[in-house]
């Protein structure tokens, strides 16, 4: 039962990593670079929600979510427009470095606006739901439901809509997709909108669960990064499974390893994958992009 509980905790923690990893890997799939500023989108989502719940607006958190996500999406689109688009003909290295710079810029902007002190939404606490020896907290349940809803939406978008098909085509080969008349601008914007939305929603949940600080995104980006590598860069479903796998491995490790070294798992995954399977665990087959 103890192990089952650890696995459940792992799946839920992992579903949050997956939410971040999916955005990261989508951007990689289309633009071929790892966006280091993705972590700041997570923090930005959380901080925008704080802005809307604080005076003068004082919206309830649930109503603050939509405008907060909208703000984050705007920043995501602006990132693309002002930084990545002008550099898109440069090397991947240029984009990567630009994203690192952008990450610092955004983080410091958050610190400038909100200070570096810990902040919180002041959500009421509630005791968890118990099923026999298994306990799942309300927060965990919200995380799980959100992840399921958003990822199902993504599945539907990718498999049932023209836009999703276009997205996959662009990820496969941008030039060819352009030649075939797929509107690249629209697809690019969609990728940024999706990535920013997922990051913002995840960020808000994370902040509800713990607290807000400018560094909050950076810490989680590492896990997302490991998930992306595990699933194979650019592979959306790989990132999803990768995120959950890392969450489960991390939480199970608490039973055997010292919890003081939880991050070790993510680092080990990154190393092992880069050394032995840089294409991800699904590299033997062509993942769905």
């Amino acid at each position: 039962m103890y192990y089952l509980q650890l696995v459940i905790n792992g799946i839920i923690a992992g579903s949050m990593y997956a939410l971040f990893a999916v955005g990261l890997t989508m951007v990689y799939g289309v633009f071929r670079f790892i966006n280091f500023a993705h972590g700041e989108l997570i923090a930005l989502g959380a901080y925008s929600a704080l802005f809307f719940t604080s005076p003068p607006l004082s919206l309830p958190l649930i109503w603050a979510t939509a405008p907060a996500v909208a703000c984050t999406v705007c920043v995501g689109l602006l990132q693309d427009r002002l930084v990545f688009q002008p550099l898109c003909h440069g090397t991947r290295m240029t984009l990567l470095i630009a994203s690192i710079g952008l990450s610092y810029l955004l983080r410091n902007a958050i610190q400038f606006g909100f200070g570096s002190d810990l902040l919180s939404y002041n959500v009421d606490l509630a005791a968890g739901y118990e099923w026999g020896p298994i306990i799942v907290t309300r927060m965990q349940l919200s995380m799980l439901i959100t992840a399921v809803v958003f990822l199902t939406f993504l599945y539907w978008l990718f498999t049932r809509t023209m836009l999703g098909k276009a997205l996959r085509a662009v990820a496969d080969n941008m030039e060819l997709a352009g030649i075939m008349g797929i509107p690249l601008g629209r697809v690019n914007r969609t990728v940024w909108i999706l990535a920013a939305t997922f990051a913002a929603v995840g960020g808000i949940l994370l902040a509800m669960d713990t607290s807000l600080e400018p560094m909050m995104g950076v810490i989680n980006l590492l896990k997302a990064f490991a998930a992306v590598l595990l699933g194979g860069p650019g592979n959306v479903w790989g990132a999803l499974i990768g995120g959950i796998a890392i969450g489960v491995a991390e939480n199970l490790s608490v039973a055997v390893l010292s919890p003081g070294y939880k991050d070790f798992i993510a680092f080990a995954v990154i190393l092992v994958m880069l050394l032995f399977r840089p294409g991800g665990i699904f590299s033997f087959q062509k993942g769905m992009r």
Partner: protein, 370 residues
């Protein structure tokens, strides 16, 4: 050609004049976490130091010259602290440096200060190892050995013979846990389970599950504000019924603000000092006047004492050699009654301490009384 030469000459004159202008003030350095994970505390440290600085300068400064603190941000990391101290020593050539918070960061720069004969003073670093850093290293904050003993005594006093021990996985946490363990087991206590936890995580549920499994009546959790708040919240949601015993680093209104209801009833130790002294009353009024917007920060009193004590030492020093400054600081500390009590340094540059108990009642941090 002539134009640019003139400009260059002008620039050279300005540059040459700079150090002369700077020498009008007595400069000391401070390595402060103004960004990164400890920035939560850093701003408060800086406010406290600036408060003392203003008072020192209003009272005539150092032998007629104003005192100036050069703040260097260390990004809350050891690497950042090392670059900061190197910059302070080589570029600014300061004789006294206020060390960074977090014992790991402090320990990283100890040997550099000792080697370069620069007086290093800490106002937050508690690791037991710092006592062995060398003759140029001082602190106005008591060593962990004392706090570890204080925590063990508290657990015993509350009647807990069996506890789970968890601590943050860094120099400070490990050192404090060792000190607690030694003292607790020596007096017949038993530690049922012991594990470190990682800094900066958002999910501690599996660690808490381990606590829940052990059915411990009390858990000694030596951690910081953010981690402490997250753990308390998640433990509350997971219906863990236990007595939390915490250290001084989590004693903050922030912890209560974030953890809310979950923080009710936790009990902790902290190095204390009387709030009835005229020194404390003076500090409190001055703080409230200078910073009406913000509460007195964690360790603010220690930072305030550190600057005042340094100013006293600089005024006592007959010359500005490292040895003279070191001796002046020893001398200044003798019987010095600061906001945080007696600051007499022992041969390791350490001060003594009195430990108090705190608890959270109705969302407020108050002194614990049975």
């Amino acid at each position: 050609m002539m134009g640019s030469l003139k400009k260059l000459l002008g620039l050279a004159i300005v540059l040459a004049a700079l150090p002369v202008w700077a020498q009008d003030a007595v400069e000391v350095g401070s390595i402060t976490p103004l960004s990164g994970k400890l920035a939560v505390y850093g701003e408060g440290f800086q406010r406290a130091m600036n408060l003392a600085l203003e008072e020192v300068n209003a009272a005539g400064g150092i032998q007629g010259k104003p005192l100036k603190i050069i703040f260097e941000d260390n990004g809350s990391t050891s690497q950042g602290s090392v670059s900061a101290i190197q910059k302070l020593i080589t570029v600014h050539k300061v004789p006294i440096i206020f060390g960074p918070a977090a014992s790991s960061n402090f320990l990283a720069i100890c040997p550099i200060a000792q080697q370069n004969k620069v007086v290093l003073i800490g106002a937050e670093s508690a690791a037991a190892d710092i006592s062995q850093c060398g003759s140029y290293v001082f602190r106005v904050f008591p060593s962990d050995i004392l706090q570890g003993r204080g925590g063990a005594e508290l657990a015993k006093e509350l009647g807990y013979r069996k506890v789970v021990l968890t601590y943050i996985n860094n120099d400070w946490g490990v050192g404090l846990a060792e000190a607690f363990k030694d003292s607790f087991t020596e007096s017949g206590g038993e530690i049922i389970d012991e594990f470190p936890h990682e800094e900066g995580k958002s999910d501690y549920r599996s660690e808490i599950l381990r606590i829940k499994q052990s059915n411990a009546p009390a858990v000694v959790n030596l951690t910081y504000i953010k981690e402490g708040a997250a753990m308390l919240k998640q433990a509350f949601e997971m219906k863990v019924k236990t007595q939390w015993i915490m250290g001084s680093a989590s004693k903050s209104p922030k912890l209560v603000e974030i953890a809310g209801e979950a923080a009710e009833g936790i009990i902790g130790t902290y190095p204390t000092f009387s709030q009835d002294t005229p020194q404390y009353q003076h500090f409190k009024t001055a703080w409230e006047k200078a910073y009406p917007e913000s509460k007195i920060g964690v360790f603010a009193e220690y930072n305030y004492d550190m600057v005042n004590l340094t100013a006293k030492a600089l005024n006592l020093a007959v010359e500005s050699t490292p040895e003279a400054l070191r001796e002046a600081l020893m001398e200044a500390g003798k019987g010095y009654q600061g906001v945080t009590g007696d600051k007499t340094f022992d041969e390791n540059g350490d001060v003594g301490a009195v430990y108090g108990k705190w608890t959270v009642t109705d969302g407020k941090i108050v002194d614990y009384r049975k």
